[in-house]
């Protein structure tokens, strides 16, 4: 089929609204009689709560309610477990979900202890200062390894230790592989905590309409349908009594799908109790403590190779910091465990991880969601192996790539979607070749780097491969309808946080219905418009909701052609559907618009044929049997100032394969944004904690995001290996850019400073000039 809309660089439908300041974000919701909530948060990482005295706060003029755990009555209970433990034999999982308000003990700085609802946020904040809490501080668990030391303080006193989970997975026989190996590489790696920092913090507005018996909640969530269902259950309402709207959301990147945040449980409850709308908008300081983090892991890994550098097996053991509670289950460490296998043919693998409770903010997936750790470990091991075997770093990778004729490639272990990890399609050598050509690898080695070194400049190159399991199930749905105006509406249950769904999904509809992309109006994230679905995560929106949209639009197309064939009394095969109308092939003047057909399909009088549905509308669902695996190679030339250790990126090349490209303009944006976050993660962003669990850099003045001066121009290339798992052949692309950047920085900086010749390797992320100085000068 000739594509007219899919694959085109269409500018975005949503932009005019956003650019004119007319887009509704949660903080823009203003309702008559609205109250404002503020939260009293624990200043301690770990403490017993002896008493909470709210009398003075309640007496403050303008305060409407002060709520503690005791005041919640039966509503006080731990939040739900989002993702159950995977069906892996021997899995240990200790479920300790967050509570709406702390009772008896606080387990991380920022954990809510009381909520004040007042006539204004100013009054609510002032009233927080009136509350007296008697805390008895307890020893805090900060460091990941110290958490497992004998006699360590326990985050949850009812557990024997701080282990939240343990999972072992294996493929093949690693012991046998190791016994056969000509060469072993064993290393320890550390990846530290960071935060996703969307420019919009979290926020919720809830309003109870007593006359309609309905609750409406505006929430900065990535999963509006699941929030709706959960709130209805918690509040004892029918699902039809609750409408959740995720309007324009100012970036999500994963943490906005954590649920239920305590505030998400409490603000709707307060609105219902008080009979007035209640708003809470997280401030940036709160965001650093109260919105989930990610990335803290320590790996001990071993690579077994034959004499030619072929991988015989990998063994990895790692710890993951899960924070004080574990409501998101094991998605992050499972991603790390699985993605370590990368694009290589690894016959034997043995992996064990333990998730560890600490007295820190909760951990949930953040763009990449554990995948960067696995990539960091395997790519760093290969770099070390190449050096020790005297091989070129590209050559060792090439020798181990899964060849194109081995797909579907089965890795046997279980992925985050609980399906066996299987790569659906790919051509990894093509990616590598394209990246080598684009970065001019040979010329860099033979000319650029020697010339720079002769001039006393420290120029280095990095080249790193990655895969990403994307587009997982269980399902999404879409409803497509032709309006009497001739415009087409599409509603789906996913949320949108800037990914371009209003345009990409419109292109998918336009492709089927022959209408202008601008005439397709997309609604996401409003449960009154569509209320089946799971959410936006795991790089799945365009894949899963895209496929459902395609199916629904194709069904409407069939209805359109059938209706037009009846109208013209001709065969469907003789009809042409284009430019918003159906015409008879070769007789363009005999045409009827989609709008007229929609009107004819919804008559006010007369009879319709039995079995006919009114209108031109269809709803379809799509659930892939497993995720589609995207892949890519990043390459970078970097120069490091030997005195300040500040790197400058001279060239950055991305070669990416996410199957069929729906919109190259939007895809490029996703990749560039992902890389920018990867750069932040690799070189700028680290959450710094004191020994007693205080977060020391909880502001954008101290936690440095990359600026316009830090993120370089990028050169982007594609290869296209369509996925066989969905009708459009797409794979997800949202997270990919962020995944390989840590490994890339480590390799390129090592190369620039020629560190391995001095026996120094970079085995950790994030770096910074000062941390690099310590590494280079032996400061630990």
């Amino acid at each position: 089929m000739e594509t007219r809309h899919i694959g085109r660089a269409v500018t975005r439908n949503e932009d005019a609204r956003l650019l004119a300041g007319r887009a509704l974000f949660v903080d823009d919701v203003e309702l008559p009689g609205m109250l404002h909530a503020a939260f009293l948060r624990s200043p301690h990482a770990h403490a017993e709560i002896r008493s909470v005295d709210v009398a003075a706060a309640r007496a403050r003029p303008g305060v409407v309610a002060v709520v503690t755990a005791e005041d919640l009555g039966a509503y006080w209970k731990p939040g739900p477990l989002l993702v159950p433990p995977p069906p892996i034999p021997g899995v240990v999982f200790r479920q300790r979900c967050q509570v709406p308000l702390a009772r008896g003990v606080v387990r991380h700085v920022g954990e809510p202890v009381a909520m004040v609802v007042a006539e204004s946020r100013y009054i609510a904040e002032d009233a927080l200062a009136d509350i007296v809490v008697d805390y008895a501080p307890l020893p805090a668990v900060g460091d990941l390894e110290a958490a497992l030391a004998p006699g360590a303080p326990r985050v949850h006193a009812d557990l024997p230790d701080n282990i939240a989970a343990e999972v072992r997975q294996a493929k093949g026989d690693y012991a046998a592989a190791r016994a056969r190996a000509a060469h072993l590489v064993r290393r320890r790696f550390r990846y530290d905590r960071g935060a996703s920092i969307p420019m919009e913090t979290r926020g919720i507005v809830a309003a109870w309409d007593a006359k309609a018996d309905r609750l409406t909640v505006w929430d900065t969530t990535q999963a509006p349908v699941v929030i709706r269902n959960g709130l209805a259950a918690m509040l004892g309402l029918a699902e039809s009594q609750v409408r959740v709207v995720a309007p324009f959301i100012g970036g999500g990147f994963g943490p906005k799908i954590m649920m239920f945040y305590p505030e998400e449980m409490l603000v709707p409850w307060a609105a219902l109790r008080l009979g007035r709308p209640v708003k809470w908008i997280e401030d940036r300081l709160e965001h650093f403590f109260a919105t989930t983090h990610e990335r803290g892991q320590i790996h001990e890994a071993e690579l077994a190779l034959d004499a030619e550098g072929r991988i015989l097996g990998v063994r990895d053991e790692f710890l993951m910091d899960t924070g004080a509670y574990d409501p998101y289950g094991l998605t992050v460490p499972l991603n790390s465990q699985c993605t370590l296998l990368n694009c290589y043919d690894i016959p034997a693998y043995e992996s064990r991880f333990r998730a560890v409770f600490t007295n820190r903010t909760l951990v949930s997936p953040y763009r990449g969601a554990g995948r960067q750790h696995g990539i960091f470990v395997i790519e760093r091991l290969l770099d070390a192996a190449a050096r020790e075997l005297g091989l070129d770093r590209v050559e060792i990778r090439r020798r181990n790539l899964i060849p194109p004729d081995r797909f579907p490639y089965r890795n046997e272990i279980i992925y985050q979607d609980f399906a066996p990890l299987t790569y659906d399609s790919g051509d990894y050598a093509a990616l590598l070749d394209k990246a080598l050509a684009a970065i001019r690898y040979e010329r860099f080695l033979s000319e650029e780097q020697p010339r720079a070194r002769a001039e006393g400049r420290h120029l280095g190159l990095g080249i790193v491969c990655y895969v990403e399991g994307t587009g997982i199930g269980p399902y999404e749905g879409a409803k497509v309808r032709v309006q009497p105006s001739g415009k087409v509406t599409l509603a789906t249950g996913i949320g949108t946080q800037g990914q371009g769904h209003f345009t990409v999904l419109a292109q998918v509809v336009a492709e089927q219905l022959g209408v202008d992309v601008r005439d397709v109006e997309v609604t996401t994230g409003d449960t009154d418009q569509f209320d089946w679905g799971v959410g936006t995560f795991a790089s799945r929106g365009a894949v899963v909701a895209g496929a459902a949209t395609h199916e629904a639009a194709a069904a409407v197309r069939a209805k359109v052609l059938k209706a037009a064939a009846e109208h013209f009394e001709c065969a469907e095969a003789d009809l042409v559907l284009a430019d918003g109308k159906v015409s008879i092939a070769g007789v363009p003047e005999r045409a009827i618009t989609l709008g007229e057909l929609a009107r004819l399909a919804n008559p006010l009088r007369g009879a319709v044929k039995p079995g006919t549905e009114p209108g031109l509308e269809a709803t379809r669902y799509f659930g892939p049997e497993m995720g589609a695996t995207a892949a890519g190679v990043h390459a970078m030339v970097i120069e490091v100032d030997a005195e300040t250790l500040r790197p400058t990126i001279h060239r950055y090349v991305v070669v990416h394969d996410c199957g069929t490209v729906l919109n190259p303009l939007i895809l490029a944006g996703q990749i560039q944004g992902g890389v920018a976050q990867g750069i932040g993660n690799a070189f700028f962003e680290r959450l710094v904690w004191s020994e007693d669990g205080q977060l020391l850099n909880a502001s954008l003045a101290d936690y440095l995001l990359p600026t316009s001066l830090d993120v370089p121009r990028m050169e982007l290339h594609h290869t296209v290996t369509p996925s066989p798992l969905n009708p459009l052949g797409t794979k997800g692309a949202g997270e990919a850019g962020a995944i390989p950047v840590g490994a890339l920085f480590a390799q390129a900086i090592e190369d620039a400073l020629d560190l391995p010749s001095r026996g120094i390797e970079i085995a950790e992320i994030p770096l910074s000039p000062s941390r690099l100085w310590e590494i280079v000068h032996g400061g630990g």
Binding site: F25, M199, E200, G498, L700, S708, H717
Partner: protein, 171 residues
């Protein structure tokens, strides 16, 4: 309560404010101009940038009372009455310089001031330096830089229309 008299997007207003009321609160809460956003509490992010008498200013760090007699322009005041977007807004759309759109109003306001201050033209480096006070977490900045460069050419009369955006080739 004190009053402040100011013009916002060409309309004059007299608004009662507290001494501590910030300009961004006046705009968002009193005048319901919610296109101007708040992304941090330490003046780092720049989502709140507006123009005061033609100069870009972070409205989260400006007291409303400081704006007595001032003329304020917000993102809502850029388009023509018929809805035609400012060329900078057009360029942001053409070059895919926004994703979630939360930082965008501040970016656009900063960008217009930057271009107006440099009638001689801007290098990529100058644009990047000029944007350092505006954080974006979605785009990686490069498309923003390209959009500003393209809009600058039109604003300075070097071209009549935007150069079309280059898109990476597939395949």
């Amino acid at each position: 309560m004190p009053q402040v008299n100011l013009t916002v997007n060409g309309r004059s207003h007299t608004v009662e404010v507290e001494g501590r009321t910030l300009l961004v609160e006046l705009l968002r809460e009193k005048l319901r101009l919610t296109g101007t956003h708040v992304g941090c509490d330490t003046s780092q992010c720049g989502a709140c940038v507006v123009h005061i008498d033609g100069e870009s200013v972070k409205s989260c760090t400006t007291l409303a009372l400081q704006c007595e007699g001032a003329s304020v322009t917000t993102i809502e005041g850029l388009a023509k009455p018929d809805g035609t977007l400012h060329i900078m807004q057009e360029a942001f759309r053409e070059y895919h310089a926004l994703q979630c759109g939360f930082c965008t109003p501040g970016m656009v306001m900063s960008a217009i001031d930057l271009v107006q201050k440099h009638p001689e033209g801007l290098t990529e480096r100058q644009i990047r330096e000029g944007l350092e006070g505006n954080l974006c977490r979605c785009t990686g900045y490069h498309n923003i830089v390209k959009a500003i460069a393209a809009a600058a050419e039109v604003m300075h009369g070097k071209r009549d229309t935007l150069r079309p955006a280059e898109v990476m080739a597939a395949g």
